[in-house]
Symmetry: C2
Subunit: 235 residues, 2 copies
């Protein structure tokens, strides 16, 4: 069963299908690291590769920019985004704000009779991916689980906010797939249970901890150092 691709155009052939296909293709290639960091993504080249005109490519590039995969300046080619410690810290900061709050609302929604099927399905899919050992799939499903938490809140707007960073999260998970995926899955399992229990504070706290405890290992795996402006650096 094809899950709705949320974005304006579903996967079916027809309206917006081309832009969507371009978006999906380039997005996966970037996540997989097929393009070197900072690679230029000329509209014409992409349109030639995927055999569409430049119009759908333009629309895809706009979405890729809002998703943080490329950076584009006026009159200049879009380039694959390069990540530094600061951007990564910002991502964790936003996650630390958004996801715990979402978990809180999710628990509240469950306590009020909301469904947890999305959460359970995402957890199951995540478990299967771990067993498969496919790093890309694991990253995709893991990011999808975090999205499912927000889905459980039932808020479209919160979901939109989450989607805005979900791509970055998936990218991150793929790049840090050397980390212990088993433990990560157990964390997710606990998290889902907490939300399903309906306890807002536990769900919120656990989500916050899950994210913050992942910050240091992620930086380590990427060979970066957290930009803790707290300690005055002696540069």
């Amino acid at each position: 069963m094809a899950e709705p691709t949320d974005i304006s155009t579903t996967g079916r052939t027809g309206a917006g299908a081309l832009a969507h296909r371009v978006y999906t293709t380039v997005r996966e290639q970037i996540i997989r690291g097929q393009y070197p960091d900072g690679a230029r993504l000329g509209e014409e080249r992409i349109s030639a590769e995927l055999e569409v005109s430049r119009i759908p490519v333009r629309e895809a590039l706009v979405r890729l920019e809002t998703d943080g995969f490329v950076i584009s300046a006026p009159r200049r080619s879009a380039v694959v985004r390069t990540w530094d410690a600061r951007s990564l810290d910002e991502l964790f900061d936003v996650r630390a704000v958004l996801e715990p709050g979402a978990a809180r609302y999710a628990a509240r929604a469950v306590a009020r009779g909301g469904s947890t099927v999305a959460l359970e399905r995402a957890l199951t899919a995540s478990r299967d991916s771990v067993r498969s050992g496919d790093a890309y799939l694991i990253a995709e499903r893991s990011a999808a689980f975090h999205e499912a938490i927000v889905t459980t809140t039932g808020s479209d707007l919160l979901m939109a906010q989450m989607r805005a960073i979900s791509g970055r999260i998936q990218w991150l998970f793929f790049r840090t797939s050397t980390l212990d995926v088993e433990t990560a899955f157990e964390d997710h399992s606990e998290l889902a249970a907490a939300i399903a229990s309906g306890d807002e504070r536990v769900a919120e706290a656990l989500t916050f901890a899950h994210i913050e405890l992942d910050r240091a290992p992620t930086f380590a795996a990427l060979g970066l150092r957290p930009n803790l402006a707290a300690e005055p650096s002696e540069d």
Copy 2:
């Protein structure tokens, strides 16, 4: 002193200027309520009115959709968004998650030596707008103040998250300009002081209270009832 319009294209003539102009124009018209709710925004009609081709109009409509001003389905004209109690509640939910967190990071940034000039400037501009009595200006400056809190964090990503809902906030402020703007300004003043003091918890708590205490009056001013799913409705 033209403040940088943040988005890819600055206000200056040149690249992206047309799309930006279309975006700004239509956006203001929607906020001011020039279009009836649900009005259809045909690409061709807009392009004719503003004397540009459909291409910049398309790009503007995409941005207007992400900002929540219009809703568009494939092969159908974009329509001005109609707001209901649920969407409004979702907006307040997201604000209650995002803005307190932002205030916390803002206070932290200040405590670590970050600048508060953006905050102070926004506060001053807000005060001036209140004195002017121009409802649109008040709404604009008030929304800008909330953005300034996020600016103070120094996080581009957090700022992007805030911008995604900033338009909705401005729309809301304009529609509820019957509320006591003096009190709102005093709230903002307190908020700025709390952030400037560098106390994370106070800044966070005050922001949360400011938002939540505004929820009920906003609904009342719009003639809606909060969608408190807590109480089982007898429909």
